[in-house]
Amino acid sequence: MSGLQEPSFEQLAVRAVEYATKRGADEAAATVRKGRSISVQYRDGDLELLREAQSSALSIFLFVDNRYSSHSTCDLRPTTLDGFIDHAIELTRLLGQDPCRRLADPKLYEGRPDDDLEIWDPAYQDLDPERRKALAREAEAVARANEGPIISATGSYTDQQSVMTRVHSNGFSGAQRGTQFWVGAEVSVRDAGERRPEDWHFAGSRRISMLPSPAEVGSQAAKRAVARMGQKKLSSGETRVLVDSRAAGRLVGALVGAMSGAALQQKRSFLLDRLGQRIASPLLTLIDDPLLPGGFGSRHFDSDGISSRRRRLIGEGVLEEYLLDVYYALKLGAEPTGGGTSNLVFSGGEHDVAGLAKEMGSGIYVTGILGGNTDGTTGDFSHGIVGFEVSGGSIKGPVGEMNITGTHADLWDRLIAVGNDPYPYSANRVPSLLFDSVAVSGA
């Protein structure tokens, strides 16, 4: 990408790589990042917080006699930087050898896409400080004006701009810049006894013109908090569970985590030796799409410099591709496919939450996952949940202080419907997911 604001950044990265190789590194890579972030927060009618952050950092990755280390610093003065790199090379020589540590084969740098990712908004430059305040103030004011016993409302606005450049000693050079704009609201309400249930809504976009209105965000947050009043605990049993798009990312994250090269090579993955096999219901098709316009994870290359491509990870329930970075691919004796995911996109889905609830009949509509974890080696999971009871195909009163427990193998096999409502405020655009027969513990 051309037209970066900071041409000196690339020079800084090039210089660091050149210096490292001159001082004895066989190969080196460097990234330089610069970011600026501004936040404004209003609470109960008053400006509560103004925060501005400007950061720069250089990271260097060193390959010295089959030894590897990585280092970062925010002290970018050239004189300090040389000493920092010298020290880092010296440190690397004290480590054991690992022949799998090397930069990517330059063939993987080829074919880099140049699509406009639509992740940079030129309007950022001209944003007025008063507009930032107005957005946060409106989110808060609308939230607080909502009906219900509201104790406290907070409205916030944050934006950020980031620029990154990456250089490898074996021929890779790339840069990317992006902007993000976020508006949010958090609301606490007074419930029976001492309970003060809270809820929130945060919405973001890559372009400020795409940002949902602060009034809509504030109103959503308040309605959600009010809807939490009078929570009940249902009795334990096995039931259908509809996980809202806002909460489902946590479950998908555990599935994707088990596809990573590190987890596989270290035998800490319940998806080990499952490539090409059915691991989920045929309703699950999961795509990694780095070229999604305006996506929070959109990119032209990954952290190994591998050129981005759209890839199907799971196709109709069959595991089609692992996430192998250069290092773990070499360790596994496989071809690198790219270690991390960019934007996760699901296919299919005909219904929204109301439609899914109708299909579900009765069970629990989960709107939030509270803690819990997954054992990535076995796929066993157990999570706290908050949500609503569903009966007769419609959403009823709030429930909580309950757990869902099971194994990922069973859970994904029991996926019986996928929503048409991918969560738009994350790189993981997970829709609402309906599962059959999940163990729910409550009273």
């Binding site: 509560e48 925010c74 406290s152 003060r196 803690g371 409550g442």
Partner: protein
């Protein structure tokens, strides 16, 4: 004790410059301004597949400028310690104030601190060659301990943070904060099945944390807690009596009461513990403290990140709710003294009321009595993570190792169980407390508003008569 001249000696930041920056921060009439200088050096080393084959280091340097007007905060930071860059950050932070007379800072008086850890230690001078043998010994010990061991990963972190806090009311405080953590992941294979687990040891101390005994114990615990998982079962689902083992079960306190006692939530009235000070919340044999003064413990601090000396704060005294955890803003709001709980992740972050080392004081019962008292329930030993909704009071924690209790005896190992309860309800259901308080030495990190700070946990054996356990049908 830390050196108040460190930033002058290394980076040329003089007291005269500091006064100029504090003044600039107050030029629009803010009530209070503060500078938080930090120079942090971090080294990490890792072993995988039998070789110490990775290391990393990082350097972080900067100053955070905060301006406070009542409950309102302006904040900016600079990674450049030159005077023009610091003044620019100060003017940005001053934007929170809406006008009024500018003020001059008071004269700067150094504050002397008690020492709860070795402030002469410096991790940045410890070479990687001293770490590699420790990691290699972990690998060797683990592989020798059990033939089922298939994979071992070991990792080390040594962190040194030098801080200097200067406030417009004339306080100047320096501290040297060492921190270290050593941990391992183990994978075992048995008859085609695989299990994994991890364990770690952390301290605000130096290399002497790692004796041959402490390293051996670290490995032994990881091996034992992994091997037992091959026989582990899921408990029945629903509400059950829960016995918390002495040690890291303090995670219950951290989630069920600790966060809710952080005074920022209470000054906003959004915690389930708001308006409960002075009221009974538990049986008289329940006392809970948050204590930053334990020698060399991970969550200990000589001074908080606002310049207030650390202390031992009684949250619950003999069953009665006593004090919130205060930072400067909440102390002003409630017209009390700060409890030295204003902490931040780094100079890039604003301080917030946070926990340090949270634990329950010993009670009247023995561990054996507590377990014998349960007909059918669970005994929780190790944990991975927890979370809480402050206002509703619902909290959870995830149990990695435990046992089923049947007729007062531990009968079968448990695994991967989430437990969910309500904070005040759980406190009122603590029916027995053991005399065996144990402070956990694990490397816990507490997250709040996107900021992580090191904390510790402790607990005597304790019985909660009923909490919801995530089991299978």
């Amino acid at each position: 004790m830390g050196d108040p001249k460190y930033f002058e000696a290394r980076f040329g930041v003089t007291n005269e410059q500091i006064r100029k920056v504090l003044s600039a921060a107050l030029e629009r009439g803010g009530g209070f301004s503060e500078l938080f200088f930090q120079h942090a050096r971090n080294t990490g080393v890792g072993l995988e597949d039998g070789v110490v084959n990775r290391a990393g280091s990082s350097v972080d340097l900067g100053v955070g400028v905060r301006v406070v007007v009542g409950d309102r905060t302006g904040y900016a930071f600079s990674e450049d310690l030159s005077l023009p860059a610091m003044l620019a950050a100060a003017r940005t932070a001053s934007g929170i104030a809406s006008g009024g007379a500018s003020r001059e800072p008071g004269s700067l008086t150094p504050v002397r601190l008690p020492s709860h850890y070795d402030t002469d230690y410096d991790w940045s001078t410890v070479g990687v060659d001293r770490i590699t043998p420790v990691l290699a010994s972990i690998d060797e010990l683990a592989r020798r301990a059990d033939p089922r061991v298939a994979k071992v990963q070991a990792s080390f972190v040594g962190h040194q943070s030098t801080i200097l806090i200067v406030t417009s009311d004339g306080r100047i405080v320096a501290d040297e904060q060492p921190m270290t953590r050593l941990g391992l992941n183990v994978v075992m294979e048995q008859g085609g099945a695989r299990q994994s687990n991890s364990h770690n040891l952390a301290a605000r101390a130096g290399m002497d944390t790692y004796t041959s005994e402490s390293v051996r114990n670290l490995v032994d615990v990881a091996i034992e807690r992994t091997g037992v998982l091959f026989d582990a079962v899921r408990p029945p689902q629903g509400e059950l009596p829960v016995v918390l083992a002495a040690g890291s079960s303090g995670i219950l306190l951290h989630e069920a009461i600790g966060h809710g006692m952080e005074a920022d939530f209470n000054r906003k009235g959004v915690s389930i513990f708001s308006d409960r000070i002075g009221r009974p919340v538990a049986q008289p044999f329940v006392s809970i403290v948050d204590d930053g003064t334990h020698q060399a413990l991970r969550g200990s601090i000589n001074v908080d990140d606002e310049g207030t000396p650390s202390e031992r704060t009684l949250l619950v005294e003999e069953g009665v709710l006593r004090s919130y955890l205060h930072d400067r803003i909440s102390a002003g709001h409630f017209e009390v003294s700060s409890t030295g709980s204003g902490r931040r992740e780094s100079f890039r972050h604003i301080p917030l009321p946070r926990m340090r080392n949270t634990y329950m004081l010993p009670g009247p019962h023995t561990k054996e009595e507590v377990i014998a008292n349960v007909k059918k329930g669970v005994y929780c030993i190790s944990f991975t993570n927890g979370q809480v909704n402050i206002g509703a009071g619902d909290y959870t924690f995830y149990v990695k190792n435990g046992w089923l209790i049947e007729d007062g005896k531990l009968t079968a190992p448990l695994k991967d169980v989430n437990i969910i309860g309500n904070g005040p309800e759980t406190l009122s259901r603590i029916t027995m407390v053991g005399d065996d308080l144990e402070i956990d030495k694990g490397g816990w990190t507490c997250g709040k508003d996107g900021q992580g700070v090191p904390v510790s946990l402790g607990m005597p054996t304790c019985l909660v008569s009923s909490i919801t356990v995530g089991g299978s049908a």
